[in-house]
Amino acid sequence: MPDGVIGTGIGAVVKRVEDFRFLTGNGNYTDDINRPGQTYAYMLRSPHAHATINSIDTAVAEAAPGVVAVFTGDDMQVGGLPCGWQIHSEDGSPMHEPPHPSLAQGKVRHVGDQVAVVIAETLEQAKTAATLINIDYGILPAVMDMKAAEAGGTLVHEEIETNKCYDWGIGDKSAVDEALASSAHITEIDIVNNRLIPNAMEPRAAVAEFNKATSEYTVYTTSQNPHVIRLLMGAFVLSVPEHKLRIIAPDVGGGFGSKIFLYAEETIITWASTKVGRPIKWTAERSESFMTDAHGRDHVTHAKLGMDENGIFTALKVETYANMGAYLSTFATSVPTYLYATLLAGVYKTPVIYANVKAIFTNTVPVDAYRGAGRPEASYLLERIVDRAAREMGIEQVDIRQRNMISADAFPYQTPVALEYDSGDYQATLASAMKLAETSGFDLRKKESQARGKKRGIGYSTYIEACGIAPSAVAGALGARAGLYESAEVRVHPTGSVTVFTGSHSHGQGHETTFAQIVSEQLGIPIENIEINHGDTGNVQFGMGTYGSRSLAVGGEALLRATNKIIDKASKIAAHCLEAAVDDIEFKEGNFTVSGTDKSMAFGEVALTAYVPHNFPHDELEPGLDETAFYDPANFTFPGGCHICEVEIDPETGVTEVKNFTAVDDIGRVINPMIVEGQVHGGVAQGIGQALLEGCSYDSDGQLLTGSYMDYTMPRADNVPNFKVGTQSTLCTHNTLGVKGVGEVGAIGSPPAVINAIVDALSDMGVTDISMPATPSKVWQSIQSAKASS
């Protein structure tokens, strides 16, 4: 429904409302906030991956200049940080949930674990005093390797008597074994999905204060979901009721999942703010971000794909080890289960699938959702094994995909791993991506590269994801301890301008623009008259926040439904004023008209009548024009698409250059094409980062080797090309907007396309595999070993 009226509705390229403040330095991020009388917190962190704390002596630090207070785990006896999703192992037993204290209780379990907090007049004083704290550690062996940890030995948490959190399965194992046994060919693959460090550019931060007069806490924090933080921190950790705990997530500088979770630092300073009676500020240094922001991915997988003699998939069997790190972060347990293994059908008709996932504790930073969360791991596995299967079967890459794809007329499609896809046309996105990528010219480009001594390869990825998380009832049945709906309030003011309160949170996504476009389209009012308010539990009724590409599909739909309620009520008011039956009222382009007449009332006039109700249907309606909707979706949404990558490799140096990257995604209806393209660009850059540059690395003692931008390679401007981006949409069938979600597609679809392209480029040299990140040295090494063995 492109907007023909005022040009700011659904489908229009509207320049972002939020940009002016960001471009002029007027953003308001957490670290920009200062409260009168504020003190500064510094976290003293464990230098060891695994150690008992025999004693802590804080006396000298407490007497140091400027120090207000020093607290350790002995002082902070409150609830642990909770995990929001309970998984049951295949044998029916519940997962192991060891305590997750904010300040270490007698033991540290990863480098960076909080041992003490120093609060002082200045940050420098807090830091200096922290060096005066004396801790006697009893160093223990670090548990690092997942398979060794599974076998036993040193335990990260003695109280659970194992390092295995759960041993979970999905699908029909015996049917899969049978089908594999009778398959004409089985392709096998070992996959490591490399551990990533999210690195939103704004480091985490929080400012907490306690108001003695009202017994109310106010906490500014870098969060993607302030209401979730309020619930977890208030109900589970500090025992503070919601009406006395206000969480404000102001402008937030990127999240990518890492700012979903409840973290120790924000709970520590909130708790401490009552003790010191003054506001406390804490801001992470980047090195703290590296060692305390929840990491992403870190799967080790073995998989088998069975095929008949024509390359038609018969069965898929997957065994995955998923690293949980030292503690269960907020949604950690759901990521390698319901957000991963349920996606293993991909876009294919594989009739039977079985996956087993073992979640393991190690002495590393907790691992949780990072852009894509489980779904990139699934798409990477599938698209790599499909690529390899094609090579082994002597079938073209495109051909093997086309032979196995779910056809456009098969929807709704029930997969063997729980999900029911509502819509899609995978052949169409593939065809459209091939056209945009000009794949027909690839051979020529390859020759041209060859002439320059370079190896060129092309890689495909036809992926799907499940997002818009999710129906609460389904999530609840699967172990979620939260509902997954969203809410919106549309408050129409007397003169017809509108304030929206949404439970979604924008930290780069541009909701202040796209959500306003929905209202502009619905109510026929210009975008300047609409304000989108989010991020403050003191203003917004409730919300589950932004992750899993859910803002538009869940929050946007809630907003649409709230505007429908506004239109319903306003139509009744207009009918009364225009002395017509409500069924005769038409609402179009911001005017209520009695159909077939020229009698009409503008939206603003109706709004005024609602608040100055002199002539008003009091017997039927209450005054005012303010409506709220809570929307709980009927299903996930299923964006999908095709990414095609062309790389050029210098065989002398192993340097890989991404020459072309094309993404055609089916994301349902597009609200703002400019923002959609931007989301895909950013996601693809993160995917290229994972494939070529980024990899978190620990040594065997549990020391983080990639703890700064000196040794963790972020994608820079000269590591990525310009992208070719297109959409090829089918509409979501179960929300009115028809939207599916776009936040994660780039990061989900792209890594296998890049790696498949590298394998393609080097296949004639005998290279069949390369692991992520495919650094120059790794590529060069695999060329050398392929040469040596040929």
Binding site: D19, T24, D31, A717
Partner: protein
């Protein structure tokens, strides 16, 4: 404690700082010019870029005392009231920002590039941005913004 005096966005300012105070701390904490951001502790992200005597510089890698008598421009000093600088306008027009955190440093860095090399090629732009990390945009629209601003400034 040393006293520092400098011109910031056209105004003379001074303050007493510890000798170890970084320029970015002076701007953010003493002058409350919070548009300049801190994104790292190893001088690599570029969120803190300002202009010092007309050249882009990482304000996290300079002491406030090194900027005594210097002419500093921060992101707050770039627009002319409600009228954005052509670089700011180009970023807005081309969706060159998402979360906005890298943006002040990106824009200040880009202004310096276009001042020095108004006809920078795409490769030159991408190489210039080596010291500015953006996690959101994938750089595509940042490069496009800079190209557009260069064209507009060039006439």
């Amino acid at each position: 404690m040393p006293t520092v005096t400098m011109r910031v966005n056209g105004k003379t300012v001074s303050g007493e700082v510890e000798a170890r105070t970084l320029l970015v701390q002076f701007l953010r904490e003493h002058l409350r010019l919070t548009g300049t951001h801190v994104g790292c502790d190893t001088s690599q992200c570029g969120a803190c870029v300002v202009h010092v005597d007309g050249n882009s510089a990482k304000s996290c890698t300079m002491l406030a005392v090194q900027a005594i008598d210097a002419d500093i421009t921060t992101i707050e000093g770039l627009a002319d009231g409600e009228t954005l600088h052509p670089m700011q306008e180009a970023f807005r027009n081309n969706h060159g920002l998402q979360c906005g955190f890298c943006t002040p440093g990106m824009v200040m860095s880009a202004v310096d590039l276009v001042n020095k090399n108004p006809t920078a090629s795409e490769t030159e732009i991408r190489e210039w941005l080596e010291g500015n990390i953006c996690r959101c945009t994938g750089y595509h629209n940042i490069v496009k913004s800079i190209q557009e601003a260069a064209e507009n400034v060039g006439g």
